[in-house]
Subunit: 402 residues, 2 copies
């Protein structure tokens, strides 16, 4: 059960490391989210769940089919991740939510005893499944695995997420690809808001879990405002910003993030879905985002793209084949501590599984280190300094070849 916070009584809070933070002015009651400090619009917080605390801003690695690809759960934890995202769409098809439930729930199934957020399945139905038919009732579709017929609706999605014993459940929504016409986005958003109401109605309040609503409305401030109003009137433990990172430019996404977080309740966590690249993350935090998820660090780990403080590296490039240096001399992950770029180049070229294992680990470590630095800088009210350093370190790209 979520720990309910009482009124914040002091304007200063001590954290474990003994530093003192400027307290945000808002009174927060009966919420499992604690806002600790701000720096500009960036927010330092803590989400409390029955399975542990989540330091925010948080990046959630994606464990699509009950595994963060190429990683053992213990290793994911070692990178600093507090929470994973798992995909309802994949799990409902294989091995099925009912089977996972019979086996004791998703956490024990995949050996991750900390918080899990499940998406609603809506996004993947749109992007992966075949022969979709969308009505206000829900979506009928065919599995991308074996063509079998399935349906998802607000009620069924919540049932699945509860069978999985997820800690943070998402409302079932429709996410239109951008660009799209205003009327299309408006109509889709309004259907998602009806679905949000139906999701809340079947959410089992007694289990002490959290249900997040999802704001839609494309790039339109007015539609986003209407969506936010509707969600606030229903009431959720957290609010996601959906419908971004679906093909638009970063500048367009940032323009939305300049207003969208402010349309959502200040005292609740704000989750930007499906984001993103390191600079997307920094820009999103700067605009008041608390949580994010993306397959980028894990997928890139399998395709040879590596993230460091200096930007992205393509490990298959010949410049690495004789390079005895680590990917990043200051990184503490096993790929950097134990291996040269030459080795990582060799095992990537040889299509060895260890390549995916090491590069995924490094990328997840980079992402979690990034979040840690972000949180520290907010704690010190020096987030803008951090942003300046972040961009200046990337300016010249990777270290020079030997």
């Amino acid at each position: 059960m979520f720990i309910l916070l009482t009124y914040l009584k002091d304007i200063f809070h001590k954290l474990d490391n003994g530093r003192t933070f400027k307290h945000v002015g808002t009174m927060i009651k009966q919420n499992y989210f604690k806002l600790i400090a701000t720096s500009g619009k960036a927010r330092l917080g803590c989400l409390k769940t029955s399975r542990g605390e989540i330091a925010t801003p948080a990046f959630m690695p994606v464990g699509t089919a009950a595994t963060v690809k190429a990683m053992l759960p213990l290793s994911v934890k070692e990178t600093g991740a507090d929470i994973l995202l798992c995909n309802t769409y994949h799990l409902m098809l294989r091995p099925t939510a009912e089977r996972i439930n019979r086996l004791g729930g998703l956490h024990s199934f995949m050996n991750w005893n900390r918080p899990i957020l499940t998406d609603s399945g809506g996004f993947q139905v749109m992007s992966l499944a075949n022969l979709r038919k969308v009505t206000e009732n829900g979506v009928i579709f065919k599995s991308h695995i074996d063509g079998s017929k399935h349906h998802l609706s607000p009620e069924r999605s919540l049932e699945i997420q509860q069978l999985l014993d997820s800690d943070i459940l998402m409302c079932f929504d429709e996410c239109p690809a951008l660009p799209a016409k205003y009327d299309t986005i408006a109509k889709s958003m309004r259907m998602s808001m009806i679905w949000a109401e139906r999701s809340r109605a079947v959410f089992d309040e007694s289990r002490g879990k959290a249900l997040f609503g999802i704001q839609q409305g494309g790039l339109e401030e007015k539609l986003r405002g209407e969506s936010a109003e509707k969600l606030r009137s229903i009431g959720f433990e957290g609010y996601a910003i959906g419908g971004l990172a679906v093909g638009e430019e970063q500048s367009a996404m940032f323009e939305v993030l300049d207003f969208a977080p402010g349309q959502l309740p200040i005292e609740k966590p704000r989750y930007l879905m499906g984001v993103g690249k390191p600079d997307d993350i920094v820009g999103a935090v700067a605009r008041g985002i608390d949580m994010m998820d993306c397959v980028l660090p894990t997928r890139s780990g399998r395709t040879g793209q590596v993230f460091t403080r200096h930007g992205a590296i393509n490990i298959k490039n010949a410049r690495h084949q004789d390079d005895p240096r680590p990917l990043d001399e200051f990184c503490g992950c096993p790929a950097c501590k134990n291996y040269s770029r030459a080795y990582l180049h060799h095992v990537f070229r040889s299509q060895e599984i260890i390549s995916s294992m090491l590069l995924t680990w490094h990328n997840l470590q980079y992402y979690q280190d990034l979040m840690r630095c972000i949180r520290d800088s907010i704690a010190d009210d020096k987030f803008s300094d951090f942003v300046a350093t972040f961009h200046s370190q990337r300016e010249n790209g990777d270290i020079d070849p030997l």
Copy 2:
């Protein structure tokens, strides 16, 4: 440098665990191999190298291209492995021995600081490369990776293995597939013996490493005897039995092993190349073998075949999909401690990398646990009891479905 043992003075030796062993009668001098106890023909021993000791009978996991597939080196060590085998053929083609040497040698390249045995490349040239031309001088072949032309000879093979900084080097040999005509086997064996002499001649004795000769002669006792005589006259730090596990029945292999180890020096380690299944290993140890290697546990880990005390399991079978039990309740590997058969079935069916990681770890753990039990039973002079238990546990196959 190998630690040179002085004469064994006592007929009893204390091991670390305080047990007392019956000493074998032979006087062993100036050898890095110490024979500790026997039980029937089975031998308990210890190989000392400058990079650590190897408890024998030993199973060597295969790290073909400078990685034990789907495993981090630390995890391989945790299973109990003292030594790895790496493949000269693969490494000479990619990333090349010269490159590995420039980068500081194979151990630091692949982050394994314990002993490594390298094969000579001969076997893989025969099984993998294209357009081979074999003369007494050596073999010219085209790479299976990019068709580029290469040559291997006794001299070049030793040069490569020394560039890699291998701890145990193998003589370059030819290994004919079975069945083959007597004359073919005889001719091939005699060429391999000439090559063994040339290998010894270019082996750098000053580096404190070990060179192993390889007995050939197919299934023929007389040819095996001739080969052993020749090798003994040259003199090696250890002796391998080659030319088995190349398509013959287990019974044919065991018939050879009934006489071949006895043709080799009693005080030197005997290495049976490319073996094998768990019952092959037990049968080989029973016939006096000290070292083995095989891709079976690692390859099977990627194809869903699992080894337990009860025999082999195919994890993709539907009987496992709802089974909450571990592969083996007594196994201490992460796959058994943290996951159900249902989960392992799911991730195998979903082609998730974690499936290869967990099943490989389990299989290597099973193999190393097997070797530990074998060594313990020899130490207690109860190897035949162990063999009986080993077979009786496998009699009824896997545990019953739920």
